[in-house]
C-alpha cells in the first residue's frame, strides 16, 4: 500500500506531530505509515483522508505489484 500522506502534509503545512494529534495517533504511527512500514486500518485510513478532505483513493494507492509478486 503506497500513500501520499507526506505530500498532503506538505500541502496543508502540517508536521507529523500535528497530523498525529489531529487524528489521535502517535507520531511514530504517522512516520511508520509514510515509510510503508505499517498499513493502517480502514478506519484510520478514512480518518486521515477525511482530515485532508479528500477521497481515500487520493491518499492511499493499492500497490498491485505486491499481489503479482505473491501470486508468482
Amino acid at each position: 500500500m503506497k500513500n501520499k500522506i507526506k505530500v498532503f502534509r506538505a500541502m496543508h503545512d502540517m508536521t507529523q506531530e500535528d497530523l498525529a494529534r489531529a487524528i489521535g495517533v502517535t507520531r511514530q504511527t504517522i512516520l511508520a505509515i509514510e515509510k510503508g512500514k505499517y498499513v493502517p486500518s480502514l478506519d484510520l485510513a478514512f480518518r486521515i483522508s477525511r482530515h485532508f478532505q479528500v477521497n481515500i483513493e487520493e491518499v492511499f494507492v493499492y500497490d498491485e505489484t505486491v499481489l503479482t509478486v505473491t501470486a508468482d
Binding site: 507529523q16 495517533v25 502517535t26 512516520l31 511508520a32 512500514k37 505499517y38
Partner: protein, 166 residues
C-alpha cells in the same frame, strides 16, 4: 456562590481522577518495591498466600491506575505490536508446555519402555514440589524473555525506532 463552589469542586474531582504518565510510573515503582518487601516477608514467615494475594492486589491496582492516566497515547499500531507479540509468545509457550506435559502424563500413566523383556514395574517418578517450582520459574522467565524479544522484533518491524528527516 453555591454554583461556583460546586463547579470548582467538580473541576477539582476531575483533576484528581486524572494522572500523568510519570506519576503512574513512579507509583508502579513503589508498588514493585512494596511487592518485593511482601515477598521477602512471606518467605520469612512461610505464608505463601500473602505473596499470591499481594501480587493479585498489586496487578489489580496497577490496572485501575492505568485507566486514570490521561497522556498515554495508545493507537492501533501499538495495539497491534502488543497483540502480535502476545500471540507469538503464546504459540511458542504452548508447544514447550505441551511437550513437557506429554512427558509428565506418560510418567503418570507409566508407559512401558522398549524392549519389553526388560520390563520392570516401578512407581512413576514424579517431580517434587521444589522441582515443580523451579520448572514454573523457568517457564515464567521463558515467557518474559519471549514476550520482550517478540515485542522488540515487532516494534522494529512496524517502525517504532524509525528516524525521520523532518
Amino acid at each position: 456562590m453555591m454554583v461556583t463552589f460546586l463547579r470548582q469542586n467538580v473541576i477539582y474531582n476531575k483533576q484528581r481522577d486524572c494522572m500523568k504518565k510519570n506519576s503512574f510510573y513512579l507509583i508502579c515503582g513503589c508498588i514493585a518495591l512494596a511487592l518485593l518487601v511482601i515477598f521477602w516477608y512471606s518467605v520469612e514467615v512461610h505464608i505463601r498466600f500473602l505473596a499470591e494475594i499481594s501480587f493479585i492486589v498489586a496487578i489489580g491496582g496497577i490496572y485501575l491506575l492505568r485507566k486514570k492516566v490521561t497522556d498515554f497515547v495508545e493507537d492501533e499500531r501499538t495495539a497491534r505490536i502488543t497483540e502480535k507479540a502476545a500471540l507469538r509468545t503464546f504459540q511458542v509457550f504452548w508447544v514447550i508446555f505441551c511437550a513437557f506435559s506429554i512427558g509428565a502424563v506418560m510418567q503418570i500413566l507409566y508407559v512401558p519402555t522398549f524392549p519389553r523383556e526388560h520390563l520392570e514395574i516401578h512407581a512413576p517418578e514424579l517431580l517434587g514440589p521444589r522441582m515443580m517450582g523451579y520448572f514454573q520459574l523457568a517457564l515464567l522467565c521463558l515467557m518474559i524473555f519471549l514476550y520482550v524479544g517478540f515485542r522488540i522484533y515487532y516494534a522494529r518491524k512496524y517502525g517504532e525506532w524509525e528516524t525521520d528527516e523532518e
